[in-house]
Symmetry: C2
Subunit: 215 residues, 2 copies
């Protein structure tokens, strides 16, 4: 369908910027459930993400079994303890105080994998850059993240995990590549400043002149 | 700032879905320029993307020099000829007819790199998954892509390139990791169906039951 292309106005662009600004990595959730129809909606929108060669290589896994969730939590705790041990002395106390995942409270857990050599797409666009398959899955996660925030739902991306152990704990098809683990739920509080910034770990830099090289 | 958290309503969510649906990989551009203030705005919004440990590891490069652009085009032509040669016989003719980049027409070219071991973020979140640095840059690209579409600007992601040769042609700081090359411009036509689907290369699958495993 062409001809009926939508026009986005300044009011929509302002709201879109507000969405970008208030999308946060959420680690503190209320117990309120996410209904299946809303989750279905988020996954449906995630499938609108760009993908290399139209391969749609994202593979979402809904993790609901208490034993599998417990295995994921142990995985996180081990990796997080190792990260704390590897922390420089001057940052150790601050690191220990950070809350880096909401695995206990989040009502919904989604794991995301990529199928590294998807049949769909017939290999187009990824011959010299096979990592674009993983990148496609990342854009699906980001789409879901934004869609969730537009529903008032917070998402937290957990990356402090041993990827091989995640794949084993979830018994996914062999070869699937782990991208990230996502906690979803309604946030206890909302903010437009990242938690890591409010707690003094790091601050955002906004100076695009730093980021933009001219060639 | 908290307390003044925005509420997004159904009307905004419908427009956001329209944005996701009409974001396309664009390869046919009008010659109309993108003004510097709009490009600055897109880069400013891209910096609102999530990043591992708040590391903001994306490094955008504006490619304007005709010789560098020509080097990129040769890079693409070589990689694309190799991809065509590697194509199965039954798809070769179709592949040859596809337009896979708008390098000649697009008024703006942006290359995107990631700084693999950014100081910013102090290493948080990427000890077991260093690839999350690249994933952060990908989400900045996706943010820019959506923001561009909200301005009526099309983006095309070119991945049919030898990454090492891109880094050499653009003379970027050593160690930067190439993520993608982006053509930006006002599209000749708009569509909510991907070019690859309209030309019979691949079709999107929307059945989330296929994509969602239960564990």
């Amino acid at each position: 369908m062409s001809g009926g292309a939508p026009k986005f106005d300044a009011a929509f662009r302002a709201q879109l910027e507000t969405l970008f600004r208030w999308r946060r990595d959420v680690r503190r959730f209320k117990p309120d459930p996410i209904t299946p129809d809303v989750l279905d909606d988020l996954l449906r929108l995630a499938a609108l993400a760009p993908s290399v060669g139209l391969s749609q290589p994202w593979r979402f896994v809904s993790v609901d079994d208490p034993e599998r969730r417990a295995a994921l939590r142990r995985n996180f705790e081990t990796a997080n303890a190792e990260a704390l041990a590897a922390c420089g002395e001057e940052r150790k106390a601050l690191y220990a105080k950070l809350k880096l995942a909401g695995l206990d409270e989040a009502p919904r857990h989604l794991a995301l994998f990529a199928e590294p050599q998807p049949e769909q797409g017939h290999g187009l666009g990824r011959r010299t850059m096979p990592e674009t398959v993983a990148y496609s899955a990342v854009m699906a996660a980001h789409t879901l993240w934004l869609a969730a925030r537009a529903h008032g739902i917070g998402v937290g991306w957990v990356s402090i995990l041993d990827p091989a152990a995640v794949a084993a704990a979830l018994d996914v098809p062999s070869g699937w590549s782990f991208i990230g683990y996502f906690c979803l739920g309604y946030p206890q509080a909302e903010d437009d400043t990242p938690d890591l910034e409010r707690r003094g770990w790091e601050r955002r830099r906004q100076d695009i002149k730093v980021a933009l090289l001219q060639r």
